[in-house]
């Protein structure tokens, strides 16, 4: 893990010099978009990829962050940079509230959580549209001064996006390697078993969700000033949650770096619909997951027992792991032709 952390920080430091390289401003804006999506996809993956609780509400918390910054900066004249932690905090708070209620209910599992978060998006959007927070005309931020962090405004936004992306990626990495992360993956594989094994499932899910929402909020805060005109129509679309899901799944949801690969691939616009289909058909663990498998297979490392003749995609691992397969065919068969092994006990070693 230390190596990965060093690589990230080194890359971050290197990338931070870009605004001073004298490139045309447009490159900074394109990179801003890439970093923006990396941050969104990675923060989404923190809860949804790791624990399997797919949230369709990432847009809601991104939007809460956007409007928090917009309101604080225009209504209360708070300097832009100070609004960012506020944006994160407010989004995290709402995430925690929603999670506290949702996760308490025992029967709320995967699909119900997806529905709840999707519904939350509509609720938040309508509330904002119908109250003085927006009320209809949108919030115009052109009067808000852009802080002079970089040599130009585009450079500043690029650096802010870089900072948020770094923050998100480091968080994802740290969680991945911690007990917290292991617990989340255990919840993904079998929540009941995880509970029996002593994982505090409620606290972990709540924590991951709040963290994920908070990070999305900060991304939103930065975006508010980047677009400078915030409207509910542009903010709360179905496109955002759909895009982050696709980016993370494409890159690989079980690895902290998967969403980075996915985000870059999709933003690069190199992927048309056809290529997307072909990629996922042949690389079900996602681009990164597949790449790591090849890499490890070539190095002959670890005792990766390729799980079952029918690969169970939910168990794509990013590193050497020992997998014991305990199959209970009567209880957990899924679709015709597609067999899922639910009773897997996975002990990740040395990730």
């Amino acid at each position: 893990m230390q190596r990965s952390l060093l690589v990230i920080l080194a890359a971050g430091a290197g990338l931070a010099t870009v605004p001073w390289l004298g490139l045309p401003a447009f490159y900074e804006s394109i990179l801003y978009l890439v970093l923006h999506w990396i941050a969104l996809a990675t923060s989404w993956n923190l809860l949804s990829g790791y624990s399997g609780y797919f949230s369709f509400g990432h847009g809601a918390f991104f939007g809460i962050g956007m409007y928090t910054t917009a309101t604080l900066a225009t209504r209360f004249d708070i300097p832009f940079l100070w609004t960012l932690p506020a944006a994160g905090a407010v989004a995290a708070l709402f995430g925690a509230l929603l999670g506290a209620v949702a996760f308490r209910v025992q029967a709320v599992r995967a699909e119900l959580f997806s529905l709840l978060t999707l519904a939350a998006t509509f609720v938040v959007a309508t509330l904002i549209l119908n109250t003085p927070i927006d009320g209809g005309p949108g919030v115009y931020m052109s009067a808000v001064p852009v802080p002079a962090i970089g040599p130009t405004a585009s450079g500043t936004f690029y650096l802010l996006a870089l900072a948020v992306a770094l923050l998100t990626v480091v968080a994802a990495l740290l969680v991945y390697h911690s007990r917290f992360g292991t617990g989340l993956f255990a919840i993904h594989d079998d929540e009941d078993v995880a509970e029996v094994m002593g994982v505090p499932t409620f606290r972990y899910k709540l924590g991951a969700f709040a963290l994920s929402c908070g990070l999305a909020g900060v991304v939103g805060g930065v975006q508010a000033l980047f677009v400078s005109y915030v409207t509910t129509g542009d903010t709360f679309t179905i496109a955002l949650p759909l895009t982050v899901v696709l980016m993370a799944v494409l890159g690989g949801t079980r690895h902290w770096a998967g969403p980075i690969v996915g985000a870059t691939a999709i933003i690069g616009k190199g992927l048309t619909g056809l290529v997307l289909i072909v990629v996922i058909l042949f690389m079900p663990e996602g681009l990164l997951g597949q790449a790591l498998k090849w890499w490890h297979a070539r190095r002959g490392a670890g005792a990766i027992a390729a799980p079952a003749p029918a690969r169970a995609p939910a168990l794509a691992t990013g590193g050497p792991a020992v997998i014991h397969v305990d199959v209970d065919p009567v209880k957990h068969m899924w679709a015709p032709g597609l067999v899922q092994f639910k009773d897997m006990h996975q002990e990740p070693k040395g990730r």
Partner: protein, 404 residues
Amino acid sequence: MNMDRRSFVAAAGALGAGALWSSQAGAQPSGAPIKVGGTLALTGPLSSTGLVHKLTGEIYVDSLNKRGGLLGRPVEWVLKDDQSKPDLARTLYEQLVTADKVDLLIGPYATGNILSAMGVAQRYNKTLVHHTFGIPNLAKYDQQFPAWSIGPEPEKTLPALVLTALASSSAPPKTIAVVTSKFPSVHFVALGAREVAKQRGLQEVLFLEWDFGNRDFGPIAGRVKEAKPDFIWTGAIGLEGNQLLDAMKKIDYAPLHHFYHVPAPAPMLKAPEANGALSMTIFEDHPPFTNNPVAAEFVKVYRERAAGAGMPDTAVETQAAASFTAWQLIEAAVVATKGLDDKAMAAWLRANQVDTIQGKLRFNERGNFGADLSRVKQVQNGKWVTVWPADWAAPGAKLQTRGA
């Protein structure tokens, strides 16, 4: 605003004739091309209107190059696709200015994207002429110029125009219902309509707002029917007007007078229940607008090329006219200042009036908006016909009242 139509036609005719038959006609432009950069929504939800602007721009640049280009040089339009997204528009305008190093800018489609472009223009001190900006009080940059001349306070002037037109009809309304989408550029004008109606002594019997993206207009139509207004002001954009009319038809309700702010023009013409619907326009494909030779030539070419491209609507109306006007403004500023200096062009525009196919535009009021050149048009027998003010109305056309 009562424009002397005859003097306008004379002036525009002179300009137009001059432009068409200038001594440079036939002279091949030569030298390094002048690059005009901009984006449009070529894909995404706004793309059906984006394509109207693309076609208009192509027609204008072709004709400009046939007339000798600008300053004797050929003009090249560097057009990129912003996919209807404001953040992408911003990025692409930065590319146009800093990487493609275009000489001049022209705006994208619709308010949100124009704001993004305006921000970039402001950072690089470029002048931005744009064609479809709907919220004048957001236009704060002094080097931006709107081609769609709705005036600095459309929320006051447009309802006043419409209500004046209705007052001259055979059944002037006494009650009004204001129903509107919460889409920013129509919402604030609808709120203004409430105020103006109140000032003129109309009684408001219903006020409703819906979320842009609403699918079900049944209950809204039901409430309108129950309120029985003489006049419905509908803050509708795109298909919303049609959806409301459709829903009203389904419950057997046909309003007496009805106005739709910025409807998608073609669908309104096709629906029989839309007969008599009013809307706002700055230009229509009929005299007296087409008495201007430049306009006449444009509508002819547009009709041919739109038909060739398989577009369902081949008539020039507000969108195409606003776009054409934007190009006219750019050409006028370049020719007048004999150069490509953004600040000089901006100064000249602010101090002068420009003859365009809409009429004379000026930019000396708040937000660089000037006169409100809006007119009122009506669907009559499957065609949009200007009905008010009288000097811009189609020959012999009057505002028709249902059943009158």
